[in-house]
């Protein structure tokens, strides 16, 4: 499997707080790499570093071997990073289809075509419909995003991330606030997405994480505490300590 995302010794501090220190991480195509850890462990900061929302104080990020350290978020999206947000962050006043189509437009439509009528643009429209079919939102394509249920909104988050045709998918707590049945369905989708993407998953739902992850990284206080296949991490002392309620 080819190495897609290669982060090397990333660090970022906020004042005196070392939110992320010295974190290295690699994700290959076809791999689902999950990052777990208690609140404040630095998981979200890590995603923000990898997606260009924040610049690292030190360290390197490579995508397919290209050094993309310090690139702004929009350039990283074009370089192949698609991300979803922990708190739904969509164009609420627009339809589901337009939300996804705009994301596809950003990466698929060259600048010289920007003055073409949007109604005649088959490229972004086709890409958006494919994504909606894949995540199961085709039925609600015409709905205004603000009217979606919580579960549908979480799916739209993933759909927008997928529409940028990413090589790497960064999913920040996609299961947050979902019921058990919805979680099951989404877990299947994550498993499927990992076949043709490098997926980095941040998630609190430990059961789903152990079910879908190929590799697990446990973070604590901005550092990597443990790393390995789920079977090994499941029984490690560190995880037992961090998740006392979890019964393996």
């Amino acid at each position: 499997m080819t190495l897609v995302l290669d982060a090397e010794r990333l660090s970022r501090r906020f004042g005196d707080l070392r939110a992320v220190s010295d974190v290295s991480l690699q994700v290959r195509r076809g791999e689902l790499h999950a990052v777990i850890g208690p609140n404040g462990a630095g998981k979200s900061t890590l995603v923000n570093l990898l997606s260009g929302e924040l610049a690292p104080d030190s360290g390197r990020i490579r995508i397919d071997g290209t050094d993309v350290t310090g690139w702004p978020n929009w350039r990283l999206a074009r370089a192949g990073i698609g991300r979803s947000f922990q708190r739904s962050n969509v164009m609420e006043a627009m339809t589901v289809l337009e939300n996804v189509r705009l994301a596809a437009q950003a990466v698929l439509v060259p600048r010289r075509h920007l003055l073409r009528p949007a109604a005649d643009d088959p490229v972004s429209l086709h890409a958006a419909i494919m994504v909606l079919l894949r995540v199961g939102l085709a039925d609600v394509a015409g709905r205004i995003a603000a009217t979606l249920s919580h579960g549908e909104l979480r799916l739209l988050e993933i759909a927008i991330a997928l529409a940028v045709q990413p090589r790497v998918l960064l999913l920040d707590e996609p299961l947050a606030g979902m019921g058990p049945e919805e979680s099951q369905r989404l877990a299947r989708l994550l498993h499927e997405l990992a076949r043709d993407h490098a997926v980095l998953l941040i998630e609190q739902n430990i059961d789903v994480v152990f079910a879908v992850a190929d590799t697990l990284t446990v973070m604590l206080d901005g550092r990597v505490l443990e790393r390995g296949p789920p079977a090994r991490i499941r029984n490690s002392a560190a995880v037992r300590e961090a998740y006392p309620d979890h019964d393996p």
Binding site: W74, F85, Q105, V109, A119
Partner: protein, 317 residues
């Protein structure tokens, strides 16, 4: 921003034809008032590209309007004779566009309230370039000869009696072109991207849109169109004053946009006509136009959150 349906555009077309026939029967006072409203509509429409189009609220838009107006004065001074409108119009558009490029490059580094304040600051800087300086022809403004309508020896001769009618036709033509162009623009992929930025700028950037470049393009285009509106104001009034660049004008245009509704492209045109009519009526009836304008705008904003354009949706329901 919802764009007009073919049916609505047919209605606008009929109204434009009706207005174009006005010189046949209306007295000059009404023709001149209509021209004032048409120029205000151009200006408000150019601002709507920012406000309703990309969610950028500017308090310095009049600077580009005023620059467009002064472009006529400056070209006349440079050439020493009334120049052709086919020279002054591109000059006004270019001057305002270049200024918008410079202002936009700096002001668009800020967002929201800080963007509002920085546009206000840049607008006032440009205002003081013309206020009480030799460049602006003094504080009280300066009368200018109207540009000629024609090229070389082919010049349209207009008698004094026909002038208000001809100016109305010219202003109406420019407004129609401007509206049609912006309507087409908002239907392009670029227009859709601007709407996305208005809806959620951060997500658009995270999805790969070069938000900064898109906003700068919109800002330059809006400034250029404001320059064209200012040019038409100078041609209509044969007079320019530094006040044309002042923040007061920007606020008026924002009120027109608000009055008409930020949800549609045609709202500001309705707003500009309502605002111009209101200003004229309150001036002649009370002598305190500002007070009446303020009260009416307040009432409309409270009663019609979607502006005058929102009346249509109400009637339909």
């Amino acid at each position: 921003m919802s764009l007009g349906s073919p049916r609505l555009h047919f209605l606008f077309f009929l109204l434009a034809v009706l207005l174009a026939c006005a010189p046949l029967f209306a007295p000059p006072y009404w023709l001149e008032l209509a021209s004032t409203a048409l120029v205000a509509a151009m200006f408000a429409l150019s601002l709507q590209l920012l406000v309703g189009g990309a969610g950028l609220v500017s308090l310095g838009h009049a600077a580009f309007f005023g620059l467009g107006a002064y472009a006529v004065h400056l070209t006349t001074q440079l050439l020493g004779a009334p120049p052709s409108i086919f020279l002054t119009l591109p000059a006004a558009a270019a001057l305002a566009g270049v200024a918008a490029l410079a202002v936009g490059a700096l002001a668009l580094r800020t967002r929201g309230f800080f963007f509002l304040m920085s546009t206000l600051a840049f607008g006032q800087i440009l205002f003081f370039l013309f206020h009480d300086t030799s460049l602006g022809g003094g504080t009280d403004g300066v009368f200018i000869p109207r540009p000629e309508f024609g090229v070389g020896s082919l010049v349209l001769q207009v008698s004094r009696a026909d002038r208000p009618g001809m100016l109305l036709l010219l202003n109406l033509g420019v407004l129609v072109l401007m509206y049609a162009g912006l309507d087409a623009l908002m239907r392009t992929l670029f227009g859709r991207a601007l709407q996305g930025i208005k809806a959620n700028e951060h997500r658009m950037a995270a999805a790969g849109h070069n938000v900064g470049a898109l906003k700068r393009a919109a800002f330059v285009l809006a400034g250029t169109l404001a320059g064209i509106a200012g040019h038409m104001a100078a041609v209509t009034d044969a007079f320019v004053t530094p006040d044309l660049l002042g923040w007061h004008r920007s606020a008026d245009a924002l009120l027109m946009v608000l009055l008409g509704g930020i949800g549609t492209l045609y709202g500001p045109i309705l707003g500009a006509f309502a605002f111009t009519g209101l200003a004229e009526a309150s001036q002649s009836m009370t002598g305190r136009p500002g007070l009446v304008e303020g009260l009416v705008v307040l009432a409309v904003v409270l009663a019609l959150p979607r502006g005058l354009a929102g009346l249509r949706g109400r009637a339909a329901r």
